[in-house]
């Protein structure tokens, strides 16, 4: 079943009787060549690229709940490639390029909208840092523009430019950044993988790994034992819990991050805006709600809900940046579990167990990375070598001292 404008018109004229479920609901087979643990964005993307780009077969995705029930279903949908460090920026720019062709690639409307992201700066030092970051982005093939105050004013006249403590001096703009429909991304990858023969197995929790002679043999699940030649784990906030079943401790702490959405409003914010003096960012969804967020709560948590002090902190940031937000009512808030790594950067690597691979440590930046993460993980699983843009995301970099610490705050996950 191919989606197209013509198809929508045809279905509209024939009572929408032709739409079918987007994927099968298969029983697990006794053995697969590849098992991906985790049916979220990264796991589904990995299965998709394994089957499509790398031409592999006999692939299954095992998901504890329903597809896309983790962080792909609860993020703030921003896509961007505005990183500084050489270990990161080429990877995120690769992801940005995959976003740009994603909907044609998997024939599904992921509502990728390149509406631009503007990082505001509030001091001369911050402007210098943004200039450096913009140059790093340009060197990696991304786009970046440094705006002065007038340039920002032309885009967003409603911002609080003359805030006594944090006046807005300018901003770093990436026009190709933007937002995407988060669930649509999961569904598009799931459908694309299913069409290429991947078994998407839901309500199937991995309860253990069968490891013999230092090599993976398969996984124990709530639906019985399933054999596998290679197992890739992409379970975000649950990484510590799952890898502990394989006897591994990770350089990761799980933390809760909250996000918020206001009541639906008329269009007022075209792109994504981030406050440079506190932690606050905002965009407006196509339904009209202001989608915004800020810092993690800062303590280990698996609760998928946070506490009020961070709500207050985020809203204070919003009020300092754009006082008009005080007139909007908050509709919903929720929390997700972040796999905060010790340097704030991800891990895509093999483990000490032969055939067991790990994709983790995305902190609160995993959504934008979904396509490249899946691509690079599939590359690693299929070829045994890291993808060219992901060579720095090694598990042993902490032991080697080769950290990728964008913020330079050290081994303190709640500061990243």
């Amino acid at each position: 079943m191919r989606f197209s404008g013509l198809r929508v018109i045809k279905e509209a004229l024939t009572g929408h009787r032709g739409w079918k479920p987007l994927w099968r609901n298969p029983e697990p087979k006794p053995e697969y060549d590849f098992i991906i643990v985790g049916g979220g964005g990264h796991g589904l993307a990995t299965a998709y690229y394994l089957a499509s780009t790398f031409g592999q077969a006999r692939i299954a995705v095992l998901e504890k709940g329903w597809l896309g029930s983790g962080n792909i279903g609860r993020n703030t949908t921003i896509i961007r490639s505005n990183y500084l460090l050489p270990g990161n920026e080429p990877f995120y720019e690769f992801s940005m390029k995959l976003w740009e062709g994603l909907e044609q690639e998997f024939n599904f409307n992921a509502m990728v909208s390149q509406r631009g992201i503007l990082n505001l700066c509030h001091s001369d030092g911050q402007r210098d840092a943004f200039r450096r970051r913009g140059n790093a982005m340009l060197l990696a093939g991304a786009d970046a523009e440094l705006l002065d105050q007038d340039g920002v004013r032309a885009m967003y006249p409603f911002l609080n430019f003359d805030n006594a403590r944090f006046p807005i001096k300018g901003g770093l703009l990436q026009r190709r950044a933007g937002t995407a429909r988060h669930d649509g991304v999961a569904w598009g990858y799931a459908r694309g993988a299913d069409l290429r023969g991947v078994d998407l197995i839901q309500n199937c929790e991995v309860t253990g790994f069968r490891i013999e002679g230092g090599a993976i043999r398969g996984v124990e699940t709530t639906r019985g034992y399933i054999g596998a030649k290679k197992v890739g784990v992409a379970v975000a906030g649950s990484s510590g819990r799952v890898m502990q079943k394989a006897g591994m401790r990770l350089p990761i702490e799980s933390h809760v991050l909250q996000a918020f959405v206001s009541e639906g409003l008329k269009p007022c914010i075209d792109g994504v805006i981030t406050f440079g003096a506190g932690h606050f960012y905002v965009s407006q969804s196509d339904k009209g709600g202001l989608v915004f967020g800020g810092d993690i709560d800062g303590y280990n948590s698996y609760a998928q809900r946070g506490n009020l002090p961070v709500v207050e902190d985020v809203i204070e940031g919003g009020m300092a940046l754009m006082p008009m937000i005080g007139r909007a009512r908050l509709l919903r808030s929720w929390g997700g579990i972040m796999d905060m790594s010790m340097d704030g950067s991800p891990i895509i690597d093999a483990t000490d167990v032969d055939g067991l691979y790990l994709n983790a440590g995305w902190c609160y930046g995993g959504f934008k990375a979904t396509p490249a993460s899946g691509y690079a993980f599939a590359h690693l699983l299929a070829t045994g070598r890291p993808h060219d843009t992901a060579t720095a995301f090694r598990l042993d970099r902490f032991r080697r001292g080769a950290l990728i610490d964008e913020k330079g705050v050290g081994a303190q996950p709640n500061l990243h």
Partner: protein
């Protein structure tokens, strides 16, 4: 969250700064054999449990004591809080 401070009674968690797993109290001996591996483990690896977690909170906006708080990471329920100095004095971590 309210943290039951052993000296000051229930205090708002906002008065505290969070550091992490209380295993950090048990700093390896830098002069010992295998110190490099021990420090890698100490600095970077965490148990990260879902459930009861013993963790270090610093009462920065209060009496500036370090507490070891036992808290459930699934429910955020705080089970107990002790002075880290008491635990060290007893020779524990």
């Amino acid at each position: 969250m309210l943290i039951p401070h052993p000296l000051l009674g229930p205090r708002d968690a906002q008065e505290f700064t969070y550091l992490g797993d209380a295993a950090l109290l048990d700093r390896p001996d830098g002069m010992a054999e295998g110190a490099e591996a021990a420090f890698f483990d100490y600095t970077y690896l965490r148990d990260n449990p879902a459930g009861l977690h013993r963790e270090l909170w610093f009462h920065e906006q209060g009496d500036r004591s370090w507490l070891v708080v036992t808290r459930d990471t699934v429910t955020h329920e705080i089970v107990s809080a002790e002075l880290a100095s008491d635990i060290k004095r007893r020779g524990g971590a």
